[in-house]
């Protein structure tokens, strides 16, 4: 293990908004990070004491929770899904906004009364959130774990409902689904490994503070 602080950033939807945030906090990845042809997964930054890795959003949380990376940026959907005890989320970055919702086919929604549910079958990338949400209201959720294209599940009979991220609602509409309940609002967070937060406080403390100030400057 090197002494370098590893910063994990997610591939995909949050990354474009996260990079300016990183820059404001004084961390800029090397040029090859932006090169789509580059197959490297680990990159240097303008700070010799900080390296960057680019991984799937769900893996950002896992890398940081295990202390393999010390810092990361990830959506609150992923944090809630895992509920890792070793993960701090000390800064709401106020980017990557969307919501995690229950959706079902439009014609089903016409006759459906959520108050009468006792058991639901749900296709989702978020079995943890889904189970907890339904359990809290006394409904048993049987989850079918999918990694994408959840919207297909109800039309093809894999499940009656889905739990997924919704931003504009266009994907749902195009697939004949309608949002029936919002589980929670989602935004991207700065996450920190719990042990690293204590043992590397001299380096990590100022980075966390820099992100706080970057967010304040953005919202001011």
């Amino acid at each position: 293990m090197s002494d370098q602080i590893i910063f994990a950033v997610p591939k995909g939807r949050i990354l474009d908004e996260a990079l300016p945030m990183l820059a404001k906090a004084g961390i800029e990845p090397e040029a090859s990070f932006h090169d789509p042809k580059c197959r490297a997964l680990r990159f240097a930054t303008n700070r010799p004491d900080i390296g960057i890795i680019r991984v799937r959003a769900f893996d950002v949380a896992t890398f940081v929770a295990h202390g393999a990376a010390q810092l990361g940026i990830v959506g609150s959907d992923v944090i809630d899904e895992f509920n890792y005890s070793e993960l701090y989320a000390p800064v709401d970055l106020n980017i990557g906004h969307c919501r995690i919702s229950v959706a079902e086919p439009t014609d089903m929604a016409l006759h459906d009364d959520p108050r009468s549910w006792s058991h639901v079958r749900v296709a989702t990338k978020y079995p943890g959130i889904t189970k907890r949400y339904f359990e809290a209201r006394g409904v048993q959720a049987e989850c079918v774990k999918l990694n994408g294209a959840m919207e297909l599940a109800p039309t093809l009979g894999l499940s009656s409902r889905i739990v997924d991220l919704v931003s504009s609602g266009k994907t749902l509409k195009d697939n004949g689904l309608v949002e029936v309940e919002v589980i929670s609002q989602v935004s991207a967070r700065l996450v920190v490994n719990r042990a690293a937060f204590k043992t590397r406080a001299d380096v990590i403390g100022p980075i966390v503070q820099a992100f706080r100030e970057a967010v304040r400057a953005d919202t001011a």
């Binding site: 929770a65 295990h66 202390g67 609150s76 944090i79 890792y84 005890s85 070793e86 993960l87 701090y88 989320a89 000390p90 800064v91 709401d92 935004s187 967070r189 920190v192 719990r194 042990a195 937060f197 204590k198 043992t199 406080a201 001299d202 403390g205 706080r212």
Partner: protein
């Protein structure tokens, strides 16, 4: 079952790790014995009712079974602290206070997660029952640091916590609807889900001097003044060559602690290697610490040097005894075919001398 598969979270310790485990327990217990802590040995399992009363855990989190002898439910301990409290209250209730006790032994968790997959762990620690003053807390932390350092732990970071601070604020100047939910969110430093009034507590966490300063600025009503002064006094009594941080809202499964909690970290391990704090053992104030030996074994501590001397067939018992008296481990060849290499020896007795074996 022929392939020797063990249940999830259980493992065999082989040489030299098994020896390292015993040695680490011994080193830490000897260190705290130097501060007056005497060892007690509670049983591995007890009646569930007795065990949960002292442990502040729910029986649902314990490995339970019905005792065929009494018909009562028994449980395997998941933490020895509660058992020590029970002994202090009952068997040693008549001893003058404070009582200083130490302990070491295996504990079993019912479930394990991805982050902490092990279900059996070796716990060692010390409890001071009858006081939770600045002097008592400093003694326990110093004993813990001393023990861990003698075990070979380097680069220690001590994180101090204020377990009752949220209760104080919530019943006082910053009322909230659901204190348990707030505590859980503060524990995750989930700043977006915490009321703004509590956010400064998250921002305050960090190196102790700066954190105390930030908390004093936050604490306009002086509600925390006494606690902060006590923490400052404790820090003054600790070694100056360790890193000390203060995180007022950290909790992490120590709901029963009273005014002070702490955790110890080292770069040798990814998680904490020791934790402790003040609590009430019944009505008595108390303070203690526990260390978990397994991460230290995995870090390669206390392996000892393997000075194994191979004694060819025919070496006399007297010669062998002399080498052992000089600190050697002697491994006797029982057959002519046996070799020093097969017995992983470092030396071989040749012409009355211990000759090092060349490595290939």
């Amino acid at each position: 079952m022929t392939n020797a598969l063990l249940p999830t979270g259980f493992r065999d310790r082989l040489p030299p790790e098994a020896d390292a485990s015993a040695r680490l327990v011994r080193i830490i217990l000897d260190a705290v014995a130097g501060y007056g802590y005497e060892r007690v040995q509670p049983p591995l399992a007890e009646f569930e009712a007795t065990l949960t009363a002292g442990l502040h855990v729910s029986g649902r989190d314990l490995l339970r079974f019905v005792d065929p002898a009494s018909g009562e439910t028994m449980a395997v301990r998941s933490d020895m602290t509660g058992q020590i409290g029970r002994i202090a209250t009952n068997r040693m209730g008549h001893h003058p206070r404070p009582v200083r006790l130490s302990y070491g032994g295996p504990v079993v968790k019912l479930k394990a997660g991805q982050l902490r997959p092990e279900r059996e762990m070796m716990q060692v620690g010390a409890e001071l029952i009858g006081a939770d003053s600045v002097a008592a807390v400093a003694e326990i932390i110093n004993a813990a640091i001393d023990g861990l350092r003698q075990a070979g732990v380097t680069g220690l970071t001590l994180d101090l916590n204020m377990p009752d601070v949220i209760d104080l604020l919530a019943i006082g100047p910053l009322p909230v609807d659901d204190v348990a939910l707030l505590k859980a969110r503060l524990d995750a430093k989930d700043v977006a889900a915490v009321p703004n009034a509590y956010a400064p507590l998250i921002e305050a966490a960090g190196p102790v001097a700066a954190a105390i300063g930030k908390l004093r600025a936050f604490d306009v009503q002086g509600l925390l003044a006494d606690r902060l002064a006590r923490i400052e006094a404790i820090v003054a009594l600790l070694p100056s060559d360790i890193t000390i941080t203060l995180d007022p809202t950290e909790r992490h499964g120590f709901e029963y602690q009273s005014w002070l909690g702490f955790s110890l970290y080292s770069p040798l391990a990814t998680g904490e290697i020791g934790r402790g704090g003040t609590y009430f053992n019944g009505a008595e104030p108390a303070v203690g610490f526990s260390a978990f030996i397994d991460p230290l074994i995995d870090a390669g501590l206390a392996r000892g040097d393997r000075r194994r001397l191979f004694l060819p067939v025919g070496t006399t018992a007297a010669v062998a005894a002399q080498y052992r008296a000089d600190g050697w481990v002697t491994v006797a060849a029982l057959t002519e075919e046996d070799t020093a290499q097969a017995q992983i020896c470092t030396h071989i007795l040749t012409d009355g001398k211990a000759v090092p074996i060349k490595k290939d």
